[in-house]
């Protein structure tokens, strides 16, 4: 049936374990579409792609439309505004460390797209004031600090 161990059985080494830590490093090619998207962010622009077949404007951009399965090589400069599709108020970080000041991840639906958006953070707002469908605008890093990363946008903040 299986033998359950307690946490302390491991900690006090009452059972034998063998430890290992993998050391693998990766250098990912950003790719054609995301490469250009990241270049756009560095220049302070959100870029999407339009499928000339179905007319859909998508972000994150891709070189193909998965609906039509055709190339979508038409690029569109999108506004840096949108709405909060959904959000969370997170008291844990990536490694589940507890934080007092919550992180507010959200799916931001970007204006002028076909119901498309991406994951980002909300800032300069009290957690209790964040609402679904709230209008938001990107807050950018200073151009000198941008490096072609999703974090070139610091966060999105409510449009006044």
């Amino acid at each position: 049936m299986g033998t359950a161990l307690k946490e302390e059985d491991i900690e006090r080494q009452k059972v034998l374990t063998v430890a290992y830590q993998p050391k693998a490093k990766y250098a990912w090619a950003a790719g054609i579409a995301i490469g250009r998207f990241l270049e756009g962010l560095k220049a302070g622009e959100i870029l999407g792609t339009r499928c000339e077949h179905c007319g859909r404007v998508a972000v994150p951009p891709r070189i193909f439309c998965e609906w039509c399965f055709k190339s979508s090589d038409s690029w569109v400069k999108l506004p840096d505004t949108g709405i909060v599709n959904t959000f969370s108020i997170s008291y844990i970080t990536a490694d589940t460390t507890r934080v007092k000041t919550p992180i507010i991840p959200a799916v931001i639906g970007i204006d002028s797209t076909t119901n498309a958006g991406f994951l980002h953070l909300i800032g300069e707002v009290k957690p209790e004031d964040v609402r679904i469908d709230m209008r938001v605008k990107a807050v950018w890093l200073d151009p000198s600090q941008r490096k072609g990363s999703i974090t070139d946008i610091k966060y999105f903040t409510p449009l006044k």
């Binding site: 299986g2 161990l5 491991i10 430890a19 790719g31 998508a58 599709n85 969370s88 997170s90 994951l119």
Partner: protein, 388 residues
């Protein structure tokens, strides 16, 4: 759809689900397989093929986990392959095995699902993180719980569902699990306990979530004529379905799992089910988080969109209700060793439909039931319809 041979489940076995198992994955797999074979008086020599499901190698830190598990899974010198479709793996595994028999290729197939998540320190969360997009999501420091929180919030918003109505699922399932001999976190908890538990990423709280688990499950499949030689009470796999939505999850409205509905329609159509609300006697939808059970009841077309919380509040989904949901105790009560958790639901259907579920037995001689799992980036539905 052309199915050459009707496929039956003739035996089932499972280990205890636990936070940390002393046994290795191989040893857990062996325990589950041994039990499944013994339950139908079969020998490993009677098994013609083996299908295995298990989640990412990163949990165990063992590359080629399928091969690693081979000997414990009873696959030594047999046609053997491994499937993995994230959290959907557990219910995809019987489908994977079903191909072998329904196609006429083999008369028997052993299906094994194993997971040992506890080896990954300090928490398998670290291994989960790599499911996020490596270019534009991981730099934001996401946590796996975020995707659940974001989906749950969208679902609650769209149907104006209060948190209390969602938390009642956790109360029900943890209580149902008290009657499951393999359960890891069966407990009589109150609604208030759930609502008072630590907020991790609102609206997700500690007790809304299933635990980290180790465990294994196995079932034996046989073609119709062979099944009738093995047992007088085979349970038939009459419908299978699976479907994947886009990985661009931020381009979809998360309030409804369309891919689950697509998978359900495929399985129902194969099983000749035109009105699931009337024709399904009980269901085991995937419940790694409490709201997911509700989300999946709707995806499985067992009620209207947004109606699942109401049915739960009315007691319809209790084990003695009109449509019992997760009579096993689900992942929230029995535990969540990813692939094995989905297969636990298949085992539950098998035992329930044979009237062998003991204290968990659903009343009224259930004849038709559905199990479902879900996973990847909120994008796969795997569905199996079984009949006695």
């Amino acid at each position: 759809m052309f199915v050459k041979k009707r496929v039956a489940v003739v035996g089932a076995g499972m280990t205890k689900f636990m936070r940390r198992a002393q046994e290795t994955g191989k040893e857990l797999a062996f325990e589950a397989v041994r039990q499944a074979l013994d339950s139908c008086n079969m020998r490993i020599q009677d098994i013609e093929s083996v299908a295995l499901g298990t989640a990412p190698d990163a949990f165990d830190g063992v590359h080629m986990k399928g091969e690693y598990l081979l000997d414990g899974a009873g696959a030594y010198r047999k046609p053997y392959s491994r499937n993995f479709v994230g959290g959907g793996t557990g219910v995809f595994s019987p489908i994977h095995g079903w191909f072998h028999v329904a196609s006429g290729l083999y008369d028997t197939c052993l299906v094994v699902a194993e997971e040992k998540m506890s080896s990954c320190l300090p928490h398998p969360q670290a291994a989960f993180l790599t499911i996020f997009d490596n270019m534009i999501e991981r730099p934001l420091g996401p946590n796996l719980i975020w995707i659940f929180a974001l989906e749950m919030q969208r679902y609650m918003h769209r149907h104006k569902i209060p948190k209390e109505q969602i938390a009642q699922v956790a109360v029900k399932n943890k209580r149902n699990a008290l009657d499951h001999p393999s359960a890891q976190i069966a407990k009589a908890v109150t609604l208030q306990d759930i609502l008072d538990s630590e907020v991790l990423a609102w609206p997700v709280q500690r007790l809304d979530i299933s635990p980290v688990s180790d465990g294994a499950c196995a079932i034996v499949l046989a073609s119709e004529d062979v099944a009738r030689q093995i047992t007088d009470s085979p349970v038939w796999i009459d419908g299978v379905g699976w479907n994947l939505d886009t990985t661009y999850w931020t381009n979809r409205d998360l309030y409804f799992p369309r891919y689950v509905a697509n998978a359900a329609r495929m399985a129902y159509s194969m099983a000749g089910i035109s009105n699931p609300r009337k024709q399904i006697d009980f269901a085991e939808p995937y419940d790694p988080f409490d709201y997911k059970e509700l989300h999946h009841m709707e995806g499985l077309l067992l009620c209207r969109k947004g109606e699942a919380p109401k049915l739960t509040a009315e007691g319809v989904t209790e084990r003695d209700g009109k449509l019992p949901i997760c009579p096993s105790g689900g992942l929230l009560g029995v535990g969540n060793p990813i692939a094995a958790a989905g297969m636990m639901k298949i085992c539950e259907l098998f035992w329930q439909l044979r009237g062998e579920a003991g204290k968990r037995q659903v009343a009224g001689d259930p004849r038709t039931a559905v199990a479902q799992a879900w996973g990847d980036l909120m994008q796969i539905g795997t569905v199996v319809v079984m009949r006695s």
